[in-house]
């Protein structure tokens, strides 16, 4: 029988992040006062991070199925069929709070955690991506955080040996006290060799693998479930310390062990470590679990049962092994120099029993720990909407050339080379297209097939209109995959929001989910994995709602694809899709006019699909090889990004442009569902005719050539000048020699 160590005070309950009602729910469940270990276990299982208690109700509304989906949400990662007996295993996860407190280790262990989720399923990681959001460039901590996070992501991924092929970096004052580090990993497995967490068989050994358990990361998951305040930096001891070398060994050992046929079930120790992994394996298999903590390999002496159960030491795995293969399995782990210890067994009692020093320190019903976790329908306010800004009401304050120069050299519009050069994006020898493209393209083994990968979200749109913003995040990911010639297959979502107990932030969450669901359904783009990160706020101010969408598409033949740069002079440049000159929430309005306001551009999902399918068809038939989607900064920025790599300019011609849209709105508006493409002048007529017949609006913009971008009625701006501004901002900012954006203008973000 479990002996209680003494009364559990309301204060102790509060410190464990449980409400009085949640604590009562727990004592009613077990029919007695819990031990301290049990309180620790339930706090780990029932916090927001592990139980999804505020989000579960809404996540259920998302589409998760398609004929090509092998495993949807609920496992370590999602799995889709990519043909030829191969599966793509992928997921994205946040490590926001730890990265703010200790950026190098926080970001690194974020990468480590997501890689582990992928190889736990039997897949070898073949690519990593990320999505990063930092505070305003003039916030005193931003430089330090950019520097630490970039180095941390590189430090872990480079050593582990996975190419980091894509991502995004953005800045906004609403992330000043709460940055976002979302890491995505993509792996390759055989469809009939996927490993799951579900334990089977009574009396099978439960084996602990990997690094030793230390006191790091205790209550990390509870930290991830609370808002920040000024004392948060005192939580540094709850940030885990990563060892990518140990993870690389764990990867090789696990894959070797899986190939040997001795693994029945496997679960990585992530948030809430041993507790979550053991409970999940048992509960999924309708089995009890008995653990003997005396057998757990520990880094330091005298660790208590409480500490062992809540430690988030990295690079650890839990497995249920075939008892007859135990010796072979141990030999593989010893060869790789890793700890291997039988620490328990499966039982038929449906109890989660933990023993330490000969005493039972926890004895809880295993199914109920997960199934009876609280679930809340949090009150949420209807979203407020900003008014639509008419294009004609915005006067261009500067010439188009000057505006373009400013946009390509702005913190959000500039090249992120300074960051991604710290990531090894070439290891593996399969990076067909790395950072800087619309979507990265990674060849699958020796090809010809490849995966198109991207992460996308436009937080300012989500803030202004959560439903449209949610739709746009999905549509942009779909578009980026389409723009390289990929067929978009599935999504992993990383939902970063403020405090769900505040109805306005819960309203943003609910709105974004609705938009994401609508878009995923309309585009046949199911969600197969994801992660929710709430309580992203500091001193009462929430971050911009940021539902990052990570997506995977299939390129049938990597030699037939499209990329951004203008390749040849004298080619016709067209924009496909509708341009209405939508300036609300545009980068132009914010950076050039100093106004962050208005309704964001709406996404017409039927048109999105029609235009995208048309473009993809042309790429796949080899008729288009130069394609770029229009996003931040609109058409003009898209053209600049196409011009800069090879120094080939374009002279825009007014004759074919719509007369109903003011030129600056045509150039800088952020209407959705558009692609800029080039083709030979001879091919243009037929291509435009086909587009028109398919119902795809199209405009001729001009011919590639020269070394400048020339707008109608203006002198041109040299492509080299654009490039200098584009490449220059981030290195100058990081070296401290330049730049917080103009001090004489009010920070644009204050406007909202």
């Amino acid at each position: 029988m479990v002996a209680s160590v003494g009364p559990i005070s309301p204060e102790l309950v509060r410190q464990h992040g449980l409400t009085a009602e949640e604590y009562k729910r727990f004592t009613d469940l077990i029919g007695r006062e819990p031990t301290l270990v049990e309180l620790g276990i339930v706090s780990a299982m029932w916090n927001e991070h592990c139980s999804y208690k505020s989000s579960r109700l809404h996540l259920k509304t998302l589409p998760t199925e398609a004929p090509w989906v092998i495993q949807g949400p609920g496992e370590n990662a999602g799995v889709i069929d990519i043909g030829d007996g191969q599966a793509c295993v992928f997921k994205m996860e946040s490590h926001n709070h730890p990265s703010f407190i200790e950026p190098y280790q926080g970001a690194g262990t974020g990468v480590g955690g997501i890689l582990r989720d992928v190889f736990t399923m039997g897949a070898r990681p073949i690519a990593a991506l990320n999505a990063l959001r930092f505070g305003s460039p003039d916030h005193p901590k931003t430089r330090h955080l950019v520097s630490g996070v970039s180095a941390g992501i590189g430090g872990y991924g480079n050593s582990f040996g996975v190419p980091t092929v894509g991502g995004s970096v953005g800045f906004h004052t609403r992330y000043d006290g709460n940055i976002l580090v979302n890491a995505m990993a993509v792996g390759l497995a055989e469809t009939d060799k996927i490993f799951y967490a579900k334990a089977t068989g009574v009396g099978n050994p439960i084996v602990y693998l990997g690094s030793k358990t230390g006191r790091d990361g205790i209550h990390g998951a509870t930290m991830a479930s609370a808002a920040f305040d000024d004392e948060s930096e005192e939580k540094r001891p709850t940030v885990q310390v990563g060892d990518p070398f140990a993870e690389k060994l764990l990867l090789e050992a696990c894959l070797e062990l899986m190939a040997s046929g001795s693994v029945i079930a496997i679960q990585d120790m992530g948030a809430a470590g041993l507790t979550c992994s053991a409970v999940e394996m048992g509960a999924k298999g309708d089995l009890g679990v008995e653990l003997d903590l005396d057998a757990v390999p520990c880094r330091e002496e005298g660790m208590t049962a409480y500490e062992m159960m809540l430690s988030e030491s990295q690079e650890r795995m839990l497995m249920v092994l075939d008892p007859e293969r135990e010796e072979d399995a141990e030999a593989i782990f010893r060869k790789w120099g890793l700890d291997f210890a039988v620490i328990g067994k499966t039982t038929d009692t449906l109890r989660f029993v933990v023993k330490h020093g000969g005493k039972t320190v926890a004895d809880l019903p295993i199914k109920e720990l997960g199934d009876l976790a609280p679930i809340y329908d949090r009150p949420h306010l209807a979203n407020t909407y900003e008014p639509v800004i008419a294009a004609g009401s915005v006067e261009p304050p500067v010439s188009h050339a000057e505006a373009l120069l400013k946009l390509v050299g702005s913190p959000d519009g500039c090249s992120k080379r300074w960051v991604y050069e710290q990531y090894d994006h070439l290891i593996g020898g399969n990076t067909v297209s790395g950072p800087g493209g619309d979507a990265a393209v990674v060849r699958v083994e020796d090809g010809p097939k490849g995966l198109a990968l991207t992460t996308d979200v436009t937080p300012r749109y989500c803030d202004a209109d959560p439903v449209e913003g949610g739709k746009q995040a999905v549509a942009e990911a779909w578009r980026n995959i389409t723009a390289v010639g990929g067929l978009p297959l599935a999504v992993t979502d990383n939902l970063n929001f403020g405090n769900p107990e505040r109805p306005e932030y819960m309203g943003q969450f609910v709105g974004c989910i609705r938009g994401i669901g609508e878009a995923c359904r309309a585009l046949d783009f199911p969600i197969v994995s994801g992660n929710v990160s709430l309580y992203n706020e500091t001193n009462g101010r929430g971050i911009l709602p940021t539902p990052t969408i990570g997506a995977v598409g299939l390129v049938d033949d990597v030699t037939v694809r499209a990329s951004i740069p203008f390749r040849r002079e004298g080619e016709a440049v067209l924009v496909l899709g509708t341009t209405s000159g939508w300036l609300g929430q545009s980068l132009y309005l914010r950076e050039v006019c100093g106004r962050e306001e208005g309704a964001p551009p709406p996404v017409d999902l039927a048109t999105e699909r029609k235009v995208g399918d048309f473009v993809r068809g042309l790429i796949r038939s080899g008729r288009l090889d130069t394609v770029h989607d229009c996003s931040d900064g609109g058409l003009a920025v898209a053209l600049a990004e196409m011009a800069m790599p090879n120094g080939i300019g374009i002279a825009l011609e007014a004759r074919d442009m719509p007369t109903t849209v003011p030129l600056h709105a045509f150039l800088f508006g952020e209407d959705q569902g558009r692609y800029v493409v080039t083709c030979s002048s001879e091919a243009m007529f037929a291509l435009r005719q086909e587009a028109t017949e398919a119902g795809v609006p199209n405009w001729y913009l001009g011919l590639t050539g020269g070394d400048a971008i020339v707008f109608p009625g203006e002198d041109g701006i040299a492509v080299s000048a654009l490039k200098e501004a584009h490449e220059g901002w981030l290195p100058a900012y990081m070296s401290g020699s330049a730049a917080a954006p103009d001090g004489d203008e009010p920070p644009a973000a204050e406007a909202a």
């Binding site: 480079n158 050593s159 060994l249 710290q422 994006h425 020898g429």
Partner: protein, 230 residues
């Protein structure tokens, strides 16, 4: 040509280099760090890129003392070919097979980017497929690639023509801008006195395929295979 790719805990470009070697026609096997002998009939021992032993203590320092390295030293002494790429170059320097050291990059950050290097001599078993002075377009991916050596050693390397590659621009001009990790004399790779051991920081093994960045690295593997074809 029989190539043995050494596998230290933490090696991670072992698969990339094995693939490049096979593509050029080599038979490739693996030698485990704890082994005491190279596979029978090994012509070429390859120390691949990665983070052997986590790069803990100092890059390459622990690997240099692994049991297999005695076999590599003996193989080199017999005139056998040895190729160390990136972490492999660091291990060769730490093990005394090549002189000098690789320090943190001048900017103190890991850097991964396309990089041209100039081929300093085209008469070795590694470089017969190139022209002397040719700039080849490959890449670097390292945090500690900043080569240095004492004055005397440097004079010997330069004097005896043991510099294999230098960081250059696309036209083969050795410029300060092209030398991003800060290496002395822009040195990207060096030979042993008998020209049978080559260490270099850049990664030719990731440039053997037109669709993935280009094929400028392939000639190095072709040359090695051809040198032992007889």
């Amino acid at each position: 040509m029989r190539a043995a790719v050494l596998l230290f805990p933490g090696s991670n470009r072992d698969g990339d280099v094995a693939r490049a070697l096979r593509r050029s026609g080599a038979e490739v096997s693996t030698a485990w760090h704890a082994d005491t002998a190279l596979p029978e009939g090994t012509d070429l021992a390859v120390l691949p890129g990665g983070f052997s032993y986590g790069d803990y203590l100092r890059c390459g320092a622990i690997a240099a003392r692994a049991p297999i390295m005695d076999a590599v030293r003996a193989h080199a002494a017999r005139g056998g070919l040895v190729l160390g790429i990136c972490n492999g170059f660091q291990i060769l320097c730490e093990s005394g097979l090549l002189p000098g050291v690789l320090m943190r990059n001048a900017n103190l950050r890991f850097i991964c980017h396309r990089q041209s290097v100039r081929v300093e001599r085209a008469d070795t078993d590694f470089t017969r497929g190139y022209e002397k002075g040719q700039a080849i377009d490959i890449c670097v991916a390292h945090g500690e690639g900043n080569y240095t050596a004492d004055r005397e050693t440097l004079a010997r390397l330069e004097g005896e023509g043991l510099v294999a590659f230098r960081y250059s621009d696309g036209e083969g001009r050795v410029t300060e801008d092209a030398n991003r990790n800060g290496s002395i004399n822009s040195i990207a790779g060096i030979y042993s006195p008998k020209l049978n051991v080559l260490g270099l920081m850049p990664h030719p093994e990731n440039f053997v395929d037109e669709i993935v960045g280009g094929t400028d690295g392939k000639a190095m593997f072709d040359a090695m295979v051809a040198s032992r074809a007889a």
